[in-house]
């Protein structure tokens, strides 16, 4: 029987470590690799031009790689539930493969496609390769709950089996006799569209700082490892002015789109570490980037409301402010705080910002200054940030706004001070906000404090050429700390800092005193009873008295055990 296979690319846009593709090729006669451009599902209108460009570059790269194997990529427009029945019939498909998608609506979509495939008699092959582990196993190992703190997650990971090795890259040898029927008009029907064809204005668009594609990803991986080996230092690099700029060894967007396999990255890191550190076991902190990603995927996989506050069981209900004007100022980099505005400008222009920069702007929007819901910030990041996918983006925003994951909210990033400490000279500001170039380092982070002469010399009057600061940070942060306290004080399990916990400590000591009094009273009672027994028993039979004493002893032991249980119960609650 002829086996005609479709491999469906969604994420996992690569030919290395693609086990679902590799397994589906075995025994196949024909293979068609497709990508479905779902105009409704694939991020809908909330995907900016940088993300589309990155995706299209990934698809071009895949197409080029497949061409070298005498195959092509088929880009099909439409919704999967409409597209597949048509393709199953037209191409006489009996096998479908794709990489497992752990996100809730990914699972829903795939369940619908599975059903269609079953009805059409199509065999479905799914493999896990977007995450290091099988997320359901992690959840199972944690008592059927996703771990809600990163520390707990790390503890569970330590008990998991080793990460599976990456699958073999697809080559001519792997393909063997499997062919791809390519028609004359392939480019017209199934070619990768351009940005213009999708309706974007490309005039004035600068070259991509982050070029998409598997080839680029693998090259970056090599450079990344080279740099680590050269430094021979696997510690987290100290933050300096250079860290803020896009790095040629940065890998996060490639991990998100699947151009780079996380398992390949994992193993290469491990090998390099062992080589440099002479066979020491690598610590978990080496894989920080990968494990955070894994953590958020795990927490999100069974929670369709993960990206909302309302109806989300792990999200604290915080009375955020609705303020579209303030939100627009933040999103467009018009807050009047150069540090925040420069970061948002870099984000919009290039599609990537350093993670500490993300913390700064997220804190500013939510619990630090503007008190606007993290859902709004998440939507802006979804539009602009190349490596933001549903789980990681929503999870990080919840974390940064202290809406979940038991965070200590006291730490608030100052929109002036934080930038100043990171890049004292202000070159980052000057690069992304050229209007402020003329300001000296002393005033570039708070130009509204600069005297008039300085502003005139810099040819930038605050309030005219550059906006005044939209909030008074000291006042705003003071108010917001208070708001956070109000909310968390109502959560009885929370024991954070800055809470004025006198009531809690008082309560605990009371419990202890009560227990001690109880113990003393009960011991006195026991001795009293014992002495009674002894007197009474002694009057009758000397032999009997010993058995009575034994009985009393047993009673004492039982009461002691009960007391210990009570005590431990109280301390556990503590």
């Amino acid at each position: 029987m002829v086996v005609n296979t479709i491999h469906w690319f969604r994420k996992g846009l690569r030919l290395h470590d693609n086990p679902s593709l590799k397994d589906s090729i075995r025994g196949s006669d024909t293979l068609r690799c497709i990508y479905i451009l779902d105009p409704w599902f694939a991020g809908s209108s909330n995907v900016g031009i940088n993300r589309w460009r990155f995706l299209l570059q990934c698809l071009e790269d895949l197409d080029a790689s497949l061409r070298k194997l005498n195959s092509r990529l088929f880009v099909i427009r439409g919704q999967p539930t409409d597209v597949f029945p048509r393709l199953f019939k037209e191409w006489q498909i009996n096998r479908l493969s794709y990489e497992y998608d752990s996100e809730p609506f990914g699972k829903e979509r795939d369940a619908a496609i599975q059903k269609l495939a079953n009805e059409a008699g199509v065999e479905v092959m799914v493999r896990i390769s977007h995450t290091l582990y099988n997320l359901d196993k992690i959840i199972e190992l944690n008592g059927n709950q996703p771990p809600l703190t990163y520390k707990r997650f790390q503890a569970v990971i330590n008990r998991m089996d080793a990460v599976e090795m990456p699958a073999e890259t697809i080559t001519f040898e792997v393909l063997k006799n499997c062919v791809t029927p390519i028609s004359e008009d392939h480019d017209e029907k199934f070619g990768v569209p351009s940005l213009e064809e999708l309706g974007f204005e490309t005039e004035g668009l600068t070259t991509a700082v982050w070029p998409g594609g598997e080839t680029e990803a693998l090259m970056r991986l090599e450079r990344h490892l080279e740099r680590k080996a050269w430094v021979a230092n696997f510690e987290r690099p100290r933050m300096n002015a250079n860290s803020l700029l896009a790095s040629p060894t940065g890998l996060s967007p490639y991990l998100r789109f699947g151009c780079l396999s996380c398992r390949l990255f994992y193993f290469k890191l491990t090998d390099l570490y062992r080589k440099v550190k002479k066979n020491h076991t690598p610590p978990l902190s080496l894989y920080g980037q990968l494990l955070w990603r894994e953590f958020f995927y795990t927490t999100a996989t069974n929670n369709p409301c993960f990206d909302k506050m309302d109806g989300n069981p792990i999200c604290v209900q915080i009375p955020w402010d609705r303020n579209p004007e303030a939100l627009a100022k933040w999103a467009e980099g018009r807050t009047g705080f150069p540090w925040i505005d420069a970061i948002m400008t870099q984000l919009r222009q290039e599609g990537w910002i350093h993670h500490l920069a993300r913390h700064g702007v997220a804190c500013f929007l939510t619990r630090g200054d503007l008190w606007i819901s993290w859902e709004e910030g998440m939507k802006v990041f979804e539009e602009l940030l190349l490596d933001a996918d549903w789980s990681v983006n929503a999870g990080s925003w919840m974390w940064l706004s202290c809406s979940s994951f038991f965070q200590q909210f006291f730490h608030c990033y100052c929109p002036v001070g934080f930038g100043r400490r990171t890049d004292p000279n202000g070159d980052y500001i000057r690069r992304y906000l050229p209007i402020l170039r003329g300001f000296p380092a002393k005033y570039i982070y708070d130009p509204w404090n600069a005297p008039e002469e300085v502003q005139k010399a810099a040819k930038c009057i605050i309030g005219v050429h550059y906006p005044k600061p939209m909030v008074n940070h000291a006042e705003a942060s003071r108010i917001n700390i208070e708001r956070m306290k109000q909310i968390y004080q109502q959560l009885s399990c929370y024991r954070g800092l800055g809470m004025d916990r006198i009531c809690l400590t008082r309560g605990n000591s009371l419990n202890l005193e009560v227990i001690i009094i109880m113990i003393i009273i009960s011991i006195q009672f026991i001795f009293f009873q014992l002495s009674n027994f002894h007197e009474g028993a002694g009057a009758h039979h000397p032999g009997q008295s010993s058995s009575v004493c034994c009985g009393a002893l047993i009673i004492i032991i039982i009461m002691m055990m009960m007391m210990i249980i009570l005590l431990s119960g109280f301390f556990l609650i503590k």
């Binding site: 303020n323 993670h355 008190w371 819901s373 965070q407 208070e482 004025d500």
Partner: protein, 437 residues
Amino acid sequence: MKRMKGGEEGSDDSSCESPAEVCKKVRKQLSDDSEPEVAESLDCNWARLPQELLLHIFQYLPLLDRAYASQVCRGWNQAFHMPELWRCFEFELNQPASSYLKATHPDLIKQIIKRHSNHLQYVSFKVDSSTESAEAACDILSQLVNCSLKTLGLISTARPSFMEVPKSHFISALTVVFVNSKSLSSLKIDDTPVDDPSLKVLVANNSDTLKLLKMSSCPHVSPAGILCVADQCHGLRELALNYHLLSDELLLALSSEKHVHLEHLRIDVVSENPGQHFHTIKKSSWDAMMRHSPKFNLVMYFFLYEDEFGPFFNEEIPVTHLYFGRSVSKEVLGRVGLHCPRLVELVVCANGLRPLDEELIRIAKHCTQLSAIGLGECEVSCSAFVEFVKMCGRRLSQLSIMEEVLIPDHKYSLDEIHWEVSKHLGRVWFPDMMPTW
């Protein structure tokens, strides 16, 4: 507890007859009427549950469910309106344009004011950042003429919208409550335009009962106004205010013989403009406070620029909980180590890029009560940090250090440090992490 057919499973309600007896009574009545249908008699049982029982059950229900229950029959509707169910109420006033959360229904509010305003005792208002919500709160306040409130809280859940209400409107609404309640024991009016005359009215009517007063960031109050409160309200146990209201006279008034022991004093030190000057409080005033109330908690929140700390921490001060919301210099933290022997909790949001090694060790040495510390954007070398934890030992119940704070050195790397620290703390400890992606 005996399970009965057709009756509610009553919990231990000591104030009324046991449910079994009640049901027996009801059944007797029915058997006298000799109803043939069992189903009908079941319905009658439900409707004739005694009010005390209904009250007890209703107290477990959230308001919405109670409201549904009250629609069932007249008896249940009567129970719904019993005064005991209307002692506490939280008015949530939100506008859809400025909040994601739902507001208390306006009809419910009308009903409460009409039928239950004299039952209310513990009331709070939660408003969002729109002025309309704050004004609605003031309107409700002005109608609470028959109440004798014990607790009143005006809470802005986002921006302080009470400050945008016209001052006279707010003051007159608040005065209604002050004058009519006469037994206010707890009052939370942070971020409101309350002023000295209204405080005088408060004192004139509630001086015997007032125990808790929170009025941080009330810009229209002067030190004389709050002094008046301290002089007259001798039962005051908890006070929260801004530093500009704090004076030597106030501390002395709070430590006068007639005054009860103060338990909790919270002070917010906020800078309006850079380079602001702050007055100093004499050490003798703090000593008087300590003599009078040796166990009181002094909580101070600082939101100042680095160069405004001049007047602070030059002499011994009995602060117990210290929070630095903005960047604070190494030098000031050094002074904290020297002059704050009662320190229990310390939070530093940011410091700068010079290591705080000596300062931390000094704090560990002198602040023997320290049990909680949190460090944000600071730098501490790993060896100094381990030394700090060793000196504090197990009394550190809360150690919240951001991962970026710890600088690995020749003795310890980041991976080794958490074992060392865990050893000295007697429990597993990790630094706080932020996601990297």
